[in-house]
Symmetry: C2
């Protein structure tokens, strides 16, 4: 059997305020073309169909049309699970009817224990779920973390293995060893929300969703397809696409997608950026994250650059306030307000607080602390 593995469509997503509807529609058309050209026996759609639990009407319309096209018009079976961005309850609407045309929409942990056999393969659909749902399902209060929950689910799935078949798992979570980009939601902080690859070793293939870059995991029997579209600047250098899995050989081939509008980084001086010799070589419809190497002030810099590059998503200074210098959310929580203020002042003003300024800040913080305490 041949399957197309894709995930993380995130219908409704925006990129720094820019509407991605057209980019997503274009990527979809390429996926459909690949599925038909490769004569696949099904599409594995590994979660995060929508960007949010409460998608807009236009997102609902877009995803419905895509699914109808693939499943009803092209008659391609779909094996889908809900991801952490989806509302499982909303996505479940109609699921009981969809099976009739081989559109499987799994939204509940119990769906994982109802594998679908197709040709030489058993497909297990494990939607995104919270550990407490597993604790409830298995009536086992000791299940607190995701790794425990998945281990319990895998143990139960293995009791359902048909030894004469290949076994595919479709799931939506963070597998240990993966590296993340900026556009995935961190499920939890603290490192407990990941699943060791070892837990998944008895599956012939694990079709994963959640991480948007396929390079995030290197494993023989598991991969992230990645998202079909770049959703953040940190994905600028990623090649997007889908996998074609052949269950006879259990090998997979990556099929790249061509972005309608690419996301790219530019690291140049203002003078270079406004030079036609430079920009005539670029696709100016792309989304650009620009880092200026200049140190002097440039009046109306964003407006002037947007005349050439209409889709600028970020504009930063190499030697100015840089994203990479921002204290991370995690660090912020562990630092005292005075230390944070000093860092912030240094970032913005390129100077240290004077003793007088420190005194003022300390007085103000003392006063503020007094006010919030009873």
């Amino acid at each position: 059997m041949r399957f197309l593995h894709t995930a993380d469509w995130h219908i409704g997503r925006r990129l720094h305020g820019f509407d991605l509807t057209e980019s997503q529609a274009d990527a979809f058309t390429q996926i459909e073309t690949i599925a038909k050209a490769e004569k696949v026996d099904g599409i594995l759609l590994a979660g995060d169909l929508y960007d949010r639990g409460l998608p807009s009407e236009s997102s609902v319309e877009q995803l419905n049309a895509m699914i109808e096209q693939l499943n009803l018009t092209d008659q391609i079976p779909i094996y889908a699970i809900s991801g952490n961005h989806d509302s499982a309850i909303r996505l479940a609407t109609g699921a009981q009817w969809f099976k009739a045309t081989k559109f499987y929409m799994a939204t509940d942990i119990k769906d994982a224990f109802d594998p679908i056999t197709v040709g030489d393969t058993q497909i297990f659909l494990l939607p995104y779920f919270e550990p407490f749902a597993a604790a409830q399902y298995f009536d086992d209060e000791s299940i607190v973390h995701l790794d425990q929950a998945v281990a319990a689910a895998v143990a139960k799935m293995k009791t359902l293995f048909d030894p004469d078949k290949k076994h595919i798992l479709e799931a939506h979570f963070f597998v240990s060893g993966s590296t993340t980009t900026d556009s995935e939601t961190q499920l939890t902080v603290g490192g407990l929300a990941s699943v060791p690859l070892e837990t998944l070793k008895d599956f012939d293939y694990v079709a994963l969703g959640h991480l948007h870059g396929r390079q995030a995991l290197q494993a023989d029997n598991a991969s992230y397809s990645g998202s079909p579209v770049k959703f953040s600047l940190s994905e600028a250098t990623q090649e997007k696409g889908v996998y074609i899995l052949d269950t006879e050989t259990m090998t997979r081939e990556f099929k790249p997608l061509t972005p309608l509008r690419d996301v790219q980084l530019l690291h140049e001086s203002f003078e270079t950026l406004i030079d036609p010799i430079f920009y005539n070589g670029l696709d100016l419809d792309n989304y650009y994250g620009i880092t200026l190497t200049d140190t002097k002030p440039i009046p109306n810099v964003l407006a002037r650059l947007r005349e050439i590059y209409p889709n600028i998503i970020t504009l930063e200074r190499e030697k100015g306030y840089q994203a990479s210098l921002r204290p991370s959310a995690l660090n912020v929580k562990h630092q005292d307000p005075m230390a944070l203020l000093e860092q912030f002042y240094e970032l913005v003003a390129k100077d240290d607080l004077s003793d007088q300024q420190k005194q003022w800040a300390e007085d103000a913080l003392k006063k503020a602390n007094k006010e919030v305490q009873p």
Copy 2:
């Protein structure tokens, strides 16, 4: 053929802040029981399945379970249309699949021209739509008002009439001659958003939704089933239920539903209301709209009454500020602010404005007018 006609389920609706989930679930169970006992060939569900376009997850779960129960478990065909409270786009999710089990979910004006033939009957499903959708569909800019839009739709439906069949129309709008209650949304102000009964004369039966009281329309070939549950105080005296339609005789029989918690009006003195001899005869779990006949102040009156009647939805004074004396929304729009203020003062203070007060109000209104003008 025998059909059960119901409408206006409004899943997700609240009654003066009280959750109606249980009442709606109970009414549903009664409807299901009637449908099975009467061995109906289908259920006509005439719009406003949800109370709002963006229903909560729990509402989605509740409606999905009801539809699955009727259509998949009980195997009863469902002929449904979207109403003005529904999001047509959201309700359309899965509709292409639902037909396989005879669950017809019409959400677009074009669906009206794809009648379903069942036994001796053709069923036309005309969902709620805005006149501009009809203007667009018929490519006719002269269609501006609902009556014109419905006339055009009916003319087209009549070209599809099979002369050997009975013709049922299912629709969701205000038919002229109907009287409204407080719980229907007024579609527009001005009286143009209604359809004359005459327009519908060529149908053997018109199964209507929109108005919550079945008494709203008296016609041989058309009726509102009304909502299964009382959604406002103005529905207190209505008997709720469903119709069973027999297409052989084209007669209909009303089947009442027993409310889980009724909505009732009490018009009594405080002394009577707190007298066990009075209230022991009542179902105290009901929702009560109370009008006190007392004229003297009663300390903590609401809290004291709620000790006996936990589900009080309104508390008014017969001789105080009364709902029936409120200027209607329609009147308000046609009166000048000074006249409204005088009415309001009289209602609240039981006195006329003094000349000095009038002068102050006029000065303030003049000043306010000046501020909003450029």
